[in-house]
Symmetry: C4
């Protein structure tokens, strides 16, 4: 009995999103601080002189962070049966949930010596901790906003994929034209189609670093055409996403006022009454 009360208390602190519980809030703040400091430390370690001088500090902080995240991970698995009450295998269900996999990936590499030896890979894995912030952001109205964005992207997915395919076509086509036209004049800037593709992507996304650009008249003519097409290429996904949001917001605002009214908003007839 005492054990169960303890479990419920820990569950309230670790997993509840209510925000009423003060201990839960402090815990959330601690985890958030650790995530942010962990990312800051990745950034700071990249400065050679800082890394040389404070290597011990960075290592100790990393060990502390991993320890806290490991304890949190174990507690979450332990209390998973309170999260999914009716479920048969609540712990297995929790372990394979999206957020739990992120949690595991954020600590696991530290325990695998053959991975933790490779600094470069470890750095990227540690950045995964950023996604743990979503746990903390799962509060109030940000959930709705994030859900709307995800829903809009999901609804528009097939349209967006097609527009990315169209975009890839245009890029490959531009790259091959440009390679054909510019290679004889600038063999160092356009040595092959892959290098030419780098130019095409820089141009169509309108980034335009200026490290590679056409110099022949024919090349410039095609580059101008491709830049103009680039405007359209960018306009299509922007248009799709804008339309998705307009529709999503419209639906949201239509649902609310229509439901509670028993009268036709247009002619005053009682709905289903007559």
């Amino acid at each position: 009995m005492r054990m169960k009360q303890w479990k419920e208390k820990i569950f309230d602190i670790v997993s509840r999103d209510d925000g009423d519980n003060r201990a839960s809030r402090i815990f959330d703040l601690l985890i958030m601080t650790l995530i942010v400091l962990s990312v800051v430390s990745i950034v700071l370690e990249s400065f050679e002189d800082l890394n040389a001088r404070y290597r011990a500090v960075f290592s100790a902080f990393e060990a502390f962070t991993v320890a806290v995240f490991t304890v949190e991970y174990i507690l979450r698995i332990w209390t998973a049966d309170l999260l999914y009450p009716g479920e048969k295998h609540p712990r297995l269900k929790y372990i394979f949930s999206f957020l739990a996999i992120i949690d595991l990936l954020a600590i696991l590499p530290f325990y695998l010596p053959f991975i933790s030896a490779d600094m470069r890979f470890l750095r990227m894995v540690r950045l995964l901790r950023l996604f743990r912030l979503f746990r903390v952001f799962k509060l109030g109205r940000y959930v709705d906003a994030l859900q709307t964005i995800v829903q809009v992207i999901r609804t528009s997915a097939s349209r967006l994929i097609i527009s990315v395919v169209l975009c890839a076509f245009v890029m490959l086509f531009s790259a091959i034209i440009m390679y054909t036209v510019e290679n004889p004049v600038q063999p160092e800037q356009f040595p092959n189609v892959i290098a030419s593709l780098w130019w095409a992507i820089c141009t169509l996304t309108t980034v335009g670093y200026g490290d590679v650009y056409p110099v022949t008249a024919v090349g410039r003519f095609f580059a101008a055409l491709i830049s103009l097409v680039g405007i359209g290429i960018i306009a299509i996904p922007t248009g799709i996403i804008a339309a998705g949001f307009t529709t999503a917001i419209d639906k949201g605002s239509e649902d609310t006022p229509d439901d509670p009214k028993p009268y036709c908003p247009y002619c005053g007839h009682r709905i289903k009454g007559d």
Copy 2:
């Protein structure tokens, strides 16, 4: 009788989009693999050292690809009468359909010695095979998505053309102003209006390579004005396309629930009944 059964079997494999038929699926996968490898081989051939070493491999693969595509093209024409059952000249109709012309263009140049001798032209023609992917993509929901994009562009066509014309006006105007202002100071960067037009397009599309830019005070003043106008120039087609998608999606979602219901969705009166 036996011949007809064979024909139907081949038709099912080559032309059906159902996806139930296993042989048809394998065939689709084979064609898709050949298209992708064909494009990859265009890219790889552009690397001088690879081309020198594996020229024989590239040639053999190209011959194989063309052979498969030719057999496919002939089979499709042969079974065209099953595709258009009631038609008088089903084969002619098929040959002049959009997708069949693409198919022909993707193999024909290989059989014309005077074209296949010109490597550069051949390369671009071979890229046309990318469009053959649309055949394979003609499955499931991607058809709807592509149709929506095409429909939106078609509906907005006259608006988009006008905005392109406006854009061309602004570009030519900018180019002439910039040539007038910058030519005396940078005769090498702005030697004539065409070169100045290159600058104008780079600026208005916001690519901005940085190979040509104004250095005089007056030139920079006009360039700043033109950049700001550029935001508007890009905003207009983006706005048109966004509006097109919003309207298209709205219509789509309105059409479905309204049609099958004989009742007013707002007050439950029978429509046209009273």
Copy 3:
């Protein structure tokens, strides 16, 4: 009597947009060709060697163009009373109409020796002829498309002006910050606020030539902030214009199907009938 018939014939050729009249069509085509060739000749004249060799040809063509446009201008004034039948001063009204002023500006400078001596000014004035194309474009569905664009911009005018003002604020603010931060380190790139403004405009419009950019840590921090704000700055006018088109298209499509139907589309009641 005979004079009047002549006048009507000329009016039909010069001013009617019907497109039924064959002579009117040929006349439109002639004017359009002259406009396009006139612009092409501005471009070609800017090539030094072409200008040196064919100066006589360019001058003769310019004289011919101005002569044709002058005759056209006079004929349009002469037939203005047929364009505005009930008007008291039809010719004065025509002379001060927008398109007629453009027409006059496109030929007048040629007759003023003190202007025509200045090649640079003359070049820009001649470009005004491009706007004469609008006369010819005033055909078919392009009128609607252009009207929609103009209407959308006019409806959104006050919103667009405010967003331009906001944009100017942000630019000036960015320029002053950047001047303060970067001037001590790069006095040649950021010598004063005006030069810094050039950088701000290049950055906020995302053109980014790369001729001027911050090098200090503080400068890069502010530049990064300003670039991110730049996304928003561009998003606002794009959003305004997109919303304008969505509303304009919605209105247009609502007006058409509603008018001819005597029944309520929602509940089948006869409109105004009961």
Copy 4:
């Protein structure tokens, strides 16, 4: 009695936005001119030679501007009881209103010797006067336009914040990948993650100065991916804002015609009447 008449007269001149009062108009014009000249003088002072030669003129003008703005500020506080008639502490309420705080910030630093000694800080503070223009712009339809923009941004706030967070994730991730890949090859361009972040922001906002760019094949591959993601990153806030404006305009145009009509706009039945 006489005092009160004076007060009302001054209140009419200083605070009314009616525009009927001629003295009020002249006063508005004077303030606007002073604001604009004040900003122009910030810009001109940054030119070293101008500053050296006309330092006395700039100082005198600054003193005059501050004097006028101080008098205006005092008069506004004095007449605040006419602005908020029923209020208990009208002057305190006015002093802590947004526009009054801006007013104070625009003059206060001049009276604080320890601040006015620091030229750089003073320059930015003086720029705050630009916001005083909003007072003058608070006329006619611009109020509505500004309110619509503010309302749209406020309504979309949570969505915009989430999209900025997503954007920050992508930027940090890109920076860490690019640092890992490019640092061994270009240690001077990518010395640490912060420098790499500068590249990431330049690329994702599509500014692309061209001072830092990847040169390795792997780096270019990731940079290409990131540029493409950049299109989406920009499309999301643009889409959100566009949808916000569409909804805001729709609501605006729906509210007006619906309210005053007691009849169903679709079938003419009296609403709530049956």
